[in-house]
Amino acid sequence: MQVERFQYDNKTVRNFAIATIIWGVVGMTVGLWVALQLVFPTTLNLQPFFSFGRIRPLHTNAVIFAFVGNGIFMGVYYSLQRLLKARMYSDLLSKIHFWGWQLIIVAAAITLPLGISTAKEYAELEWPIDIAITLIWVVFGWNMFATIIKRRERHLYVAIWFYIATFVTVAVLHLVNSFELPISLFKSYTWYAGVQDALVQWWYGHNAVAFFLTTPYLGLMYYFMPKAANRPVFSYKLSIIHFWALIFLYIWAGPHHLLYTALPNWAQSLGVVFSFMLIFPSWGGMINGLLTLRGAWDRVREDVILKFMVVAVTAYGMSTFEGPMLSLKSINAVAHYTDWIVAHVHVGGLGWNGMLTFGILYWLIPRMYKTDLFSNKLANAHFWLATLGILFYAIPMYWAGWQQASMWKQFTPTGQLKYQFLETVTYMRPFYAMRSLGGLLYLTGAILGMVNLFKTIGKGTLVANEDAEAPALEATHEKHKGEHWHRWIERKPTLMLVMSLIVILIGGAVEMIPTFLVKSNVPTISSVKPYTPLELQGRDIYVREGCYTCHSQMIRPFRSETERYGEYSKAGEFVYDHPFQWGSKRTGPDLAREGAGNNKKSNAWHFNHLDEPSAISTGSVMPSYAFLIDHELDTATTASKIKAMQTLGVPYASGYAEIANKELMDQAKLIAANLKQDGIEVGANKEIISVIAYLQRLGTDINKK
């Protein structure tokens, strides 16, 4: 058999490695910044561009898509070539993929602080960037599949299965969730409304965790752990069960983000059941990873790479135990909207993704540069700082989350709520400070890692094209006697792609189609009417400022919530909400009925509160929105917004777009006049007027006759 000589492309791997190091440090720095904003709200919220609501999405997007994203591509480009014994199909495609992805990250870093956001968590980027992501993702998939097709190894190792499933599922998730109607270059409305938008968003949001933060990293674990431990994976058969069970179950689990909300109950229950079952494949994978080290545990004491990997896999096990537990309704009732969830995601993010990324980097960089790691001591210091950082981050947040939930829920013996919401906010601040310390430790470790890796790069020379040889693959494979039918799955990448696609579509389809098609799932409420033009503009400012990052708009049917916020939220109340704004965290109080019942405040209260929140609510951590008083409302967009809403099915009368601005000004003048009575002079054409109009509208419709 003829042996072919070829070269592996290490340059692209190196580029992605450097990108993941740099973006990691940037993303974590922004994370530390937003954490400290909750401790020092007045000094660190640099308005308007660097307020919490605008840069919290910057943090999440940076660590998910820039740090972990580049980490995925680094690992995939390295392992794929070697597992297939083939160079990447096209250097040009690799280059387009690398630079295209970095441009998308830069575009995100510019647009998010500018307030250009769809307000859908982890999918905040606006439509032109969404299109760019789609194109670059196709380039990645094309390059990967073309490499698989020209491979010299017949079998597809399980890591590649994970890569294929990642590619297919992220493509589906991104396309479905980004279905939006552009009204200008930087603004669009999501196609879905209210409950349906929530379901699609959390189907996406949960599976972004599953198929961006988990499956590709499991692929990396299955390649790099055996490499680092120098022994094969514990059980290959278990890895196959792990793969199919995981991708089949994960896709159903999204609704656990919406327990006790207005989502139909059957969908919530499905989410709970499948989330709970996820513990089995997840722990199967974790056990498989840890047992790969059987007989090599003594090396974990010395080998810093193995240390990083062991903590990573352990953190994977902890967060995938916690996830199913948090999906149980009784636990979710306590944990949802609290800082417990923040702790949970950081055990996954800092522990699983962060530690595995650095473990791989410490293994990869010296090998590609044909040298030794610059300093083992420094890497050990990084390891301990990172491990302690995770603990200092997670423990205060777990404590805070429990405390928060119990303070929200406690009643006095006479049946009154025991704590004002504000008391729970001020109680949190020391915990926010401690968590920031955890973040600082972790970031310090990452910076040490960066220095160490760059020094290593400095003392070696990159083997940009690494020589390799392997026999060519026979053109046709003779089926030998006794061969089982299933063997072709391991050889047919397209079949693998199609099967992964079918498997992940089942769960999504079962949950989504009925919610969209069966009318009784979203009962209409006749008194719920579309927003007025002024309220719609105000709502878009609410979206722009990322208010959803701290305020929910979803009252769950608990006495502690209905007492505090009013009547629980109904599915029919959100039918005109493009996008939905239910939120996922209550750093501030719920706003679903901000304009109704006991929550209703005067226009002057809202004005003063937005101007200087802590002057009205002592101890508030909300940033000042004083700039809304100076900014003029852009009414040039009103007509196109109304028309877009009509296209999406919001029943404004025909021709309403033309008179919308007149109605907008009429309502604005009323609010300005009302403020004047309270001694506040402000032009009716300012942004703050529209925000007040929106806040005063919230939750009022169901009481109208």
Binding site: P232, I241, K519
Partner: protein, 55 residues
């Protein structure tokens, strides 16, 4: 959206088939995966298992 099929599905008269179908899909899928793993060729598994260590 989907107005062309919506009128047929809004009431979903035969909706009882839905959970049964889901359960069947689920059971068939997992039995399939377990069976597939069970009948895998041991030698081949060992070959694949060692792929990462080859280079």
């Amino acid at each position: 959206m989907f107005s062309f099929i919506k009128k047929y599905t809004e009431t979903m008269e035969h909706s009882t088939i839905y959970p049964i179908f889901s359960l069947l899909v689920f059971v068939v899928f997992f039995v399939g995966v377990l069976w597939y793993v069970k009948v895998m060729d041991k030698k081949e598994v060992d070959t694949i298992k060692n792929l990462p260590l080859e280079n």
